[in-house]
Symmetry: C2
Subunit: 318 residues, 2 copies
């Protein structure tokens, strides 16, 4: 199978090695020509995960990418660049969405931006840093066409990467996008020193509110309690590799979103996604107390008072 | 309200302070008379969480406990001692189960051992060490009688302890008992150095298998993705306070269950619960691959081969 991976960030690079190791012919297309040249020369990504051996992977620029010859195009660019990456993409082969987020220009799920060709999404607790070390991980591939999901599952599954198939593309994609908002809040709990109980409580209630939003969008609740939901959420909220968690920690210590971004030096999807999720929920008439609180912090409200208001909400049933 | 708490361990002690701080008249009954005497003399528990101020709480032995005068009896003894603690308990007031586990003599839920009086259970991500520091936490109180659950919710809720009511006593109780088995496995992942992706994947699939067992026992799936399920599970699997996680880590490093117990020096519920859960599931014809693997490790099987077999299972849908 000819696999074209668009986006030479850490996940695009490591996903390329997973596909290569399953015997596929992989081309990695970088948006930055200098980066493409460096990888072609050294078989290493000069910017991300330098220890990962990219030999055996063709490297090109996005402009020169052989999209028309691919059997699968996997896209791993930041969500704000996704629309541009799929616009005018040649060929008719399936697209696999590796990016996590919502389109900032309207809040659509990224797979909705893929027009007139089959589309699937891959998501789960998959920090690239660990997959690069060949540590075991599990993930979900979802498509409205379950047969496509199962075909991709079989094309990607290996002894170190266990893939589950799902037809709940709405749920998997909403999990991937919205969990970063809860991760910002979890980072806030860390930054305020509120402890593990508080963080686990926040994550559980956060997942419940995301599942409520998902339900209104046609997703299945059990997707939110699976690998793409809970699994990815807890690793994002607990792992030292998580940029969104780290950003939340910096925000409650008084940094602005811009300063937090500068400190982290990589894309922090939750900062873009939080207001998009909030507006989507408001439009649907769904209450998301944790997401609303995150947006208030992004707008400069002091976080401690928000914790008190969340704790003081009218007691309810679970 | 007169509250009698039976069991002077860390959770019994800290729960007593939560009830006291809500204005209830609290008596703490210790199984060890020397411990009761020490607390009465110093207002400190000599064995657990010595910094917690127990002043204002009456202390007695279990034999001398004024159970007949109580409006609520909360029981926080290890699960293997629960049957003895409720046997012949005077009075007719409701019992609140704080213990987490299954009765080793038959695998019944602990609330099933409470006969002919109203019963509720309290469970959630509530490490006593953090609640002792007045850090915020959330929990679920469940009873088949939702009105009792709501009454207890209102009796216990505070600015630092947010309580949700539920009528799914089966689900909450099974979550509390079975999560320790998954925590042992998560500790194993830590001990083997498999990383956060693997641990989050294991936890998600572990919760899925527990929910399957719960469903067969009449529990609701959403309980497993809530505070008492996922919430408690993630704090148990990630917190440095968790004894079950720690025990799993020691087991994969080659200690026997007895040696791990000795090293930890406190009850490790998962060691008792794992075979009980396995037998319960087998009796119901339900497949629990992670629980089975945990039991094999407890019986001496080398853990690394089990990880490979879990990863190599036939790919499936989520």
């Amino acid at each position: 199978v000819n696999v074209l991976v668009i986006g030479g960030g850490s996940w695009g690079s490591v996903f390329s090695t997973l596909a290569r190791d399953r015997g596929h012919a992989v081309t990695l297309a970088c948006r930055d020509p200098a980066q493409a040249a460096a990888i072609a020369a050294t078989a290493r990504n000069p910017r991300y995960l330098r220890d990962v051996d990219l030999s055996g992977i063709e490297v090109t620029t996005v402009e020169g990418a052989p999209a028309a010859d691919a059997d699968l195009v996997a896209i791993a660019v930041p969500s704000r660049s996704f629309a541009e990456a799929v616009r005018g993409l040649p060929g008719t082969c399936p697209v696999l969405v590796l990016s996590k987020g919502l389109d900032p220009g309207g809040g659509r799920r990224l797979s909705e931006l893929v027009e007139e060709r089959p589309v699937a999404v891959l998501s789960g607790p998959n920090h690239a840093e660990e997959i690069a070390l060949q540590l075991p991980a599990a993930s979900v591939v979802a498509s409205a066409d379950l047969e496509l999901a199962i075909a991709l599952q079989h094309a990607l599954v290996s002894q170190v990467f266990r893939v589950y198939a799902s037809d709940d593309v709405v749920g998997v994609e909403l999990c991937a996008a919205t969990k970063n908002v809860i991760a910002l809040a979890a980072g806030g709990v860390d930054g305020l020193g509120l402890g593990d109980n508080a963080k686990a409580g926040l994550i559980s209630r956060g997942l419940r509110e995301l599942a409520r939003l998902g339900g209104a969008c046609g997703a299945r609740p059990e997707t939110f309690s699976g690998l793409a939901g809970m699994g990815d959420l807890i690793v994002t909220c607990w792992s030292r590799h998580s940029r969104n968690r780290r950003a939340g920690e910096l925000l409650v210590r008084g940094l602005t979103p811009e300063q937090a971004l500068a400190e982290i030096g990589m894309t922090v999807e939750g900062l873009t996604t939080a207001p998009v999720v909030r507006d989507l929920a408001r439009g649907l008439g769904i209450e998301l107390p944790i997401t609303e609180a995150v947006c208030l912090v992004l707008e400069g409200t002091a976080p401690l008072g928000l914790v008190s208001s969340l704790m003081a909400r009218e007691p309810t049933t679970e």
